[in-house]
């Protein structure tokens, strides 16, 4: 009897281990995560508009239909990313996601404080290679460290009313995301 209880207790304990392991492995194992869903429409290191969600189709779940969106699927293997996003009249934000959908940095037009949001994106190692004085003198250069080599930059522009959606889309169409070799 005791022996059976031990077997069962062992099973329950091991079940806990299986549970934790599968939860922790899910972000790597998921095949339908946001990055995978965007691969077919988003070329590497270029900004493309996100298809607006409709009742028939939505490329990602829980998209905000009041926003126009654009995506840059980045890969920092061959340099750093320079992002330039003119802000629209209502509200514009940029959010950076890791390959595994973790939002590690987000900034909006007001926090950026200019007519355009201009950012440099590089890995922590690349950032460490940049000569220090250059880092200091270029005070207006906002540098973001990416925790992963690949990931997503999502631009969102609000259309406060449905009629203003085309204006929000136009603002995003001027946004650029391109790779530049490190000096």
């Amino acid at each position: 009897m005791i022996r059976w209880l031990l077997w069962i207790a062992g099973g329950v304990l091991l079940g806990g281990v299986v549970h934790l392991a599968t939860v922790l492995a899910m972000p790597r194992a998921a095949t339908q995560d946001a990055y995978s869903r965007l691969v077919p429409i988003a070329p590497v290191n270029a900004m493309v508009p996100l298809p607006a969600p409709t009742a028939q189709a939505s490329i990602l779940p829980f998209m905000d239909p009041a926003f126009a969106g654009a995506v840059c699927r980045y890969d920092l293997s061959n340099g750093m990313i320079k992002l330039n996003a003119p802000v629209s009249e209502a509200y514009t934000s940029v959010t950076f996601y890791t390959r595994e959908s973790v939002a590690y940095y987000a900034i909006n037009d007001r926090a950026a404080g200019r007519r355009a949001i201009e950012l440099d994106l590089m890995t922590t190692q690349q950032h460490a290679q940049i000569p220090e004085e250059e880092d200091v003198t270029a005070a207006d250069r906002l540098i973001i460290d990416s925790p992963t080599r690949t990931g997503l930059i999502i631009l969102r522009a609000l259309a406060p009313e449905p009629d203003l959606m085309s204006m929000a889309r136009r603002a995003l169409a001027a946004a650029q995301c391109h790779i530049e070799p490190l000096q």
């Binding site: 806990g16 299986v18 939002a103 987000a106 926090a111």
Partner: protein
Amino acid sequence: MRLLFGSFVTFLLAATIGLSTTWLTLTRGVAFGSLAIGAWTAWPKSGSQEIDPYAHATIARDGELPVGIGDGVAFVARTDDAGHEFDGRCSFTLSGMTPPARYWTVTLYNLQGGLVANAIDRHGFTSEEIVRSVDGRFTITVAPLARPGNWLPTGGIEHFLLVWRLYDTPIGVAATTMKEGPMPTVERRGCT
């Protein structure tokens, strides 16, 4: 023989318990560090690197991109204030005020996060297009059939949920200790 059978039972038990608890937590959307105001719940940390492993596993499985914490915060409601589940064949009112934010949007989704087809092609409201009373308060009627004022159609689907997103807001960034709110009250008005 007994050893073989015993270890078989143990492994079977481990796999059953482990996989079913994982499935349950991911489909129910278990996450820690929630911020609840009335019927509305937000997980501000899900929009940062401090996202907990359960929320991370859930968004990876669903394919969602959470709202970043420097962008805004998203509140989800699945029931009214009294705990009645949202049913698209019933009507609900959302009324009152919202916490400070530069803009907000409210959107109706099916449980998979898709928009719901309806005759007027309306899936939500923004803070700019809502019709308000003189004192700045507003009422949104979520109902299957047309209503005067701010009507958010349900398309008559069985289950839906609402997401209230506040953009450029102090809520969720540093506000976890202060008195939050107010979020709109949610009341069921009857079913057809």
